[in-house]
Assembly symmetry: C2
């Protein structure tokens, strides 16, 4: 998608140096647009851990390129199998909740199975990362096409009045490579001339909504309004939301959806007001091993300072008195019973084990 009118993806190989991977520094957005270079495994690991890159699909692709960068080290051919497996293990620890990270690492590791030399490993890892990136772009594009149908149906009922879509956090193209997951249907609808308006939850504590989603919607010219996370229920009670559309960091094979903390509260409000609640996700975000999202998905607890301070254009400002403890859970789980459907690259699927199994054959 576009930034200042120029087309970008969130991660790419430097066109002059195949050993440098370029990313957009998402910690600096929306007030500064900066491109960063990754040259080593540690660069990629840190970029994931400190959220310079974030969003389940982008985390996975960055991890894949990080494994490729690891293979650029001088590795003794005999030690190669151990090096590959320990590097892959380490990469998986960068963040605990998004399943794409482990999925992408497993994918690359599988491509490297039986590899004989560091040189071969390097080439295969590079190819795997590039292929994974292309796959994620394709997934987002397909999610956009499938989700577009839902927006078109609502638009027909609304007779030209704006279709109001509420989203939480950033499941936009910045979280992916291009298009996004939750935003893909919105961009497709906007490009088709449908009158869409997006309610953007600011998404405390890190404000990915106000800082990233609002920014990318503005760059594409999509009408939107930023709201505090507390606001969605009131809007839904008053007929001001036609659809809730969010992403997912991990979804179980039974359709329980783990996403940014606060998503569950919006799902409850959508149900209470008969508003459709859809989750857009590539199948790489489905964890087919898990059946009980609330009890089985590990929820990352992040630094208290993310809550204690707000971080904005002018820097940090303290919101919590020194003597008061803080808790900072990164995600919550929306039970499948509250989910109207999953918008995936293969089509729209009910959020239950049978439908998911039928669509993905697993």
């Amino acid at each position: 998608m576009r930034i200042n009118g120029q087309y970008f993806e969130t991660i790419w190989v430097d066109r002059n140096n195949k050993e440098k991977i370029k990313i957009i520094d998402q910690q600096k957005l929306p007030f500064h647009f900066e491109i960063k270079s990754l040259s080593t495994f540690n660069d990629a690991f840190s970029a994931i851990k400190d959220m310079t890159v974030r969003g389940a699909p982008l985390i996975g692709v960055t991890a894949a390129f990080g494994l490729y960068l690891a293979m650029l080290d001088k590795i003794n051919n005999e030690k190669l199998p151990d090096f590959i497996s320990s590097t892959c293990e380490k990469m998986k620890t960068a963040r605990p909740t998004a399943v794409n990270l482990a999925w992408a690492v497993d994918w690359v590791e599988n491509e490297l199975r039986g590899v004989q030399s560091a040189e071969e490993a390097r080439q295969l890892a590079f190819d795997a990362a590039v292929k994974l990136k292309a796959m994620e772009v394709g997934y987002s594009n397909s999610i956009g096409e499938h989700g577009l149908q839902l927006i078109e149906e609502i638009a027909q009922q609304k007779n030209g009045a704006p279709v109001n879509i509420l989203t939480h956090c950033n499941a936009g193209w910045l979280a992916c490579i291009d298009w996004g997951t939750a935003t893909a249907p919105i961009y497709k609808a906007h490009q088709k001339g449908i009158n869409v308006h997006v309610w953007v939850d600011e998404t405390r504590p890190r404000n990915q909504g106000s800082k990233l989603t609002a920014y990318e919607l503005a760059q594409e010219g999509v009408p939107h309004t930023v709201i505090p996370d507390n606001t969605g229920g009131h809007l839904m009670q008053h007929g001001m939301v036609d659809m809730v559309l969010v992403g997912s960091d991990r979804t179980t094979r039974t359709g329980d959806v783990c996403n940014k903390i606060g998503t569950y509260l919006k799902a409850l409000a959508a149900r209470d007001n008969n508003i459709p609640f859809y989750v857009a996700l590539p199948s790489s975000s489905i964890d087919f091993k898990l059946s009980d999202g609330i009890n089985e998905i590990p929820i990352e607890q992040r630094d208290a300072d993310e809550v204690r301070f707000a971080l904005g254009k002018e820097g940090k400002t303290q919101l919590v008195p020194n003597g008061s403890p803080v808790a900072n859970y990164g995600f919550d789980v929306t039970p499948a019973r509250l989910v109207s459907g999953l918008i995936t690259e293969l089509g729209i699927c009910e959020a239950n084990e049978k439908a998911i199994k039928k669509m993905f054959g697993k």
Copy 2:
């Protein structure tokens, strides 16, 4: 309650000068403790409007003292009736949602009915304000005693483990005169040696939770943890909340509860997880004229800059890009069906018209 070990109320008459009313500047808390003087009607009106004082009971008492300060003007005795009624009308416009404001103004106006001279008006208005203040303290104290029983019942089941209470915004003694509404039962329980722990919603956009509730709980030594507003649902799903306890800016005669934006979302999560959801309020917050909270209570829309910026110890920092619009609704309405009960000065009452009528005889 105490600040730095010293006993305070939120509003008082200067002991050396009856024509000065003292308040705590709640815009500056928790990082600066400052006392402000009100000498005129406009001082009081502005203090309510700009939220130097806030919280339904405190707004009402400040309005009453503001009417007294108005009577200190040199008023022609013939023009007195008009002056009183226009002053009262104007005071009611300071903020639109809390019903206590209109209720307190009506109370003072009623005390002034048939008054003959400015001097008499002055004395009657002063007495009315002092009496209203004492009433509100009494209400909070009684709410505390009634709510304490609920906490004691939970404590018995928990066998010494902490009773975890989630609250939203500040319905603490800072919102009242002393004790608070939602916090009154908590302070009573803590003073009685019950192991209580409070989850404090930070309450964007103005952070009354992290700035005021956390501050006052810390000053009284009550264990607590500040959380983003997005967090409560996750905690409830994992058995980490025993009770939700909030205040109210206006409650209908049918038990619909208007409170700080986001309260409704917590009520939904409490219901979904079978957790009791109680609202603590003096009867001065009940609007007996209204039966449909969602459609009849006017919801204040506040300045977009409250959302666009976070305001903390180091000043303001911008969170939303310049090109993105913002909406800032101050309150939402929790339908009576989600409310386990109302904790009032007369006792605990079911949230329905019959029970409220029975308790208050209206």
